[in-house]
């Protein structure tokens, strides 16, 4: 169980159970969504207040919800290009399993690299955010 506990560590479980960015805001500027047809997981991401607030409406597993939460923390105030850069670094990190100091708390998801079928769960919120930011261009 120790290996599992590594992925389902405190930070991930805490953010899954007590999300801080969940729910659709009354007003938002941009919206994107992501679907995982394999499991029926679905996420809507909302960008509000000139990119300083990101919310998500999620129906999915602990990994996806924690990833959406940590993403919402990590992208506050970033430009779309900086978000893209962070997304690429995040995707590289979850695929390789090598933590990247620049990614801070997002590294909590590095353990997902051991579960190939679950990497998509971690990256889905970022795909939804990318779709939202496409609308800004």
């Amino acid at each position: 169980m120790s290996e599992t506990a590594e992925l389902y560590q405190t930070l991930i479980m805490d953010r899954t159970k007590n999300p801080r960015h969940a729910g659709k805001p009354a007003k938002f500027d941009l919206e994107g969504h992501g679907d995982n047809p394999m499991c029926g997981d679905r996420i809507h991401v909302y960008v509000a207040d000139n990119g300083t607030r990101v919310n998500h409406e999620s129906r999915g597993c602990a990994i996806m919800i924690a990833s959406a939460e940590l993403m919402a923390d990590a992208v506050v105030g970033l430009t779309p290009d900086e978000v893209t850069e962070r997304r690429m670094a995040f995707e590289a990190m979850v695929n390789s399993g090598t933590p990247n100091p620049a990614l801070g708390d997002l590294n909590a998801l590095s353990g997902v690299s051991e579960y190939r079928s679950r990497i998509r769960c971690a990256t889905l919120p970022w795909s939804a955010l990318a779709e939202a930011l496409e609308g800004a261009k």
């Binding site: 290996e3 599992t4 389902y8 499991c39 029926g40 997981d41 999915g60 602990a62 579960y115």
Partner: protein, 414 residues
């Protein structure tokens, strides 16, 4: 000859020793395989039959005039006889080899569906179908103008005959396409009654036997099935080989599915004529090695015998339903009277994928998701479930390991 084949009674230890993969470890833990409903593991007898064919007796079938091709054709065709006997088809010509059950259903939709069914005719399926028994009919509906109707299931997960009556009421229904055993709920459909019902309404019946054929003796004549389909890989055989059974007069009236070699009587640039069934439906070089593997799988299952297999699996299912019901916050889907070793469940506050990942780390393989039955998930009010499915090699200890594993999952999410 394996130990299991020699014993009269059900010797689970001997049976397990027939399946080399079951001694593997996963993440350093004993491998507990509870995903046989997705695809079953293969006994040594199947592996050996396929390897032996490639090492000692292999050439293309139905073509060569040489010794090796004739022997290979004999071995290939012997599996047709074996399959016919396995499901008690009236003749070997009623057995068409396909790639899998999905291809079998698509074959029926493309040939029977387009040539025999007319625009305006209706097809009825149930709410508990696999996508393989939904999508081909939607494609036929969109291209050919037939109507697709969905009969309800009851809350217990059984066929709702009142709904079926309603769907058939206007006399337009020409085909009832329904599962013999739900891959999500484990429900066995009352197939004899359904066949009588369909025939009384002048409709044909197609049964998706992908799950059922593994667990019960199937007799297509006793059922009076018009079409019956299944895959080899769930029956302890290899992937890439499936079966379509259809009554002879139906196959005779059906045009070809794919065109090519082996399915013709004669070919000229002006026109070609079709071979008789079953060859009309087997264009190109077939899955020779896989067919031989299917034959070995049928031999293996029959040597153990369905009475013993069914009794073992009934005990497993009863035990699983009992121990899983004891886990607080765990919900088993469906409560059909007649159900087999397919158990889908949800856990309060835990997504099915998290269940599967946490069990996997304990060496326990279950499936999680919508199980290729998205509309049924909607009917049940869930988006995904975890699913444990049993095979003839599943043990009581493995069911207990699942229960223990699920308690650990609960701890992580507590």
């Amino acid at each position: 000859m394996s130990a299991a084949l020699k014993t009269e009674s059900f010797d689970i230890a001997a049976i397990r020793s027939d399946f080399p993969i079951l001694s593997q470890t996963v993440h350093g833990k004993k491998f507990v395989y509870l995903d046989s409903g997705a695809s079953a593991q293969k006994p040594r007898a199947v592996i050996d039959a396929m390897v032996n064919s490639m090492e000692t007796q292999y050439a293309n079938v139905h073509r060569g005039l040489h010794w090796m091709s004739e022997r290979t054709s004999d071995a290939y065709e012997a599996v047709r006889d074996k399959t016919a006997k396995f499901i008690n088809a009236a003749s070997r010509e009623e057995i068409v080899f396909t790639r899998n059950a999905t291809e079998s259903i698509n074959l029926i939709a493309h040939t029977y569906g387009r040539a025999i069914l007319q625009p305006g005719d209706a097809i009825v399926i149930s709410e508990m179908e696999h996508h393989a028994n939904i999508v081909p009919w939607q494609m036929l509906r969109d291209s050919h103008g037939v109507e697709l109707r969905v009969a309800k299931i009851t809350d217990s997960g059984e066929v709702d005959f009142a709904s079926l009556e309603e769907k058939f009421a206007d006399g337009k229904v020409k085909l009832l396409a329904i599962t013999h055993m739900s891959n999500v709920l484990g429900t066995y459909a009352p197939v004899e009654r359904l066949a009588k019902f369909a025939h009384a309404h002048h409709a044909k019946i197609l049964l998706d036997g992908s799950q059922a054929v593994v667990h019960r003796q199937v007799d297509v004549q006793a059922i009076d099935a018009d079409f019956y389909v299944f895959s080899g890989h769930k029956l302890y055989g290899p992937t890439g080989i499936g079966v379509l059974y259809a009554k002879r007069e139906l196959l005779d009236a059906m045009p070809p599915f794919l065109g090519g070699g082996d399915m013709i009587a004669s070919v000229s640039y002006e026109r070609s004529t079709w071979a008789k069934p079953p060859y009309r439906f087997e264009a190109g070089t077939p899955a020779i090695i896989e067919t031989i593997g299917l034959g070995a799988a049928i031999d293996y299952v029959e040597a153990i015998g369905f009475p013993a297999i069914a009794a073992h699996e009934r005990a497993l299912t009863d035990h699983a339903l009992a121990v899983l019901s004891n886990i607080e916050g765990l919900h088993i889907l469906g409560s059909a009277q007649d159900r087999g070793g397919v158990i889908s469940f949800t856990m309060d506050g835990v997504h099915a994928h998290d269940i599967a990942t946490l069990l996997d780390r304990q060496g326990i393989a279950v499936r999680a998701g919508h199980h290729c039955a998205e509309p049924l998930m909607g009917r049940l009010g869930v988006t995904s479930t975890a699913r444990a499915t049993f095979g003839l090699y599943t043990t009581m200890e493995e069911i207990d390991a699942l229960a223990t594993g699920l308690l650990r999952v609960k701890q992580v999410f507590a």
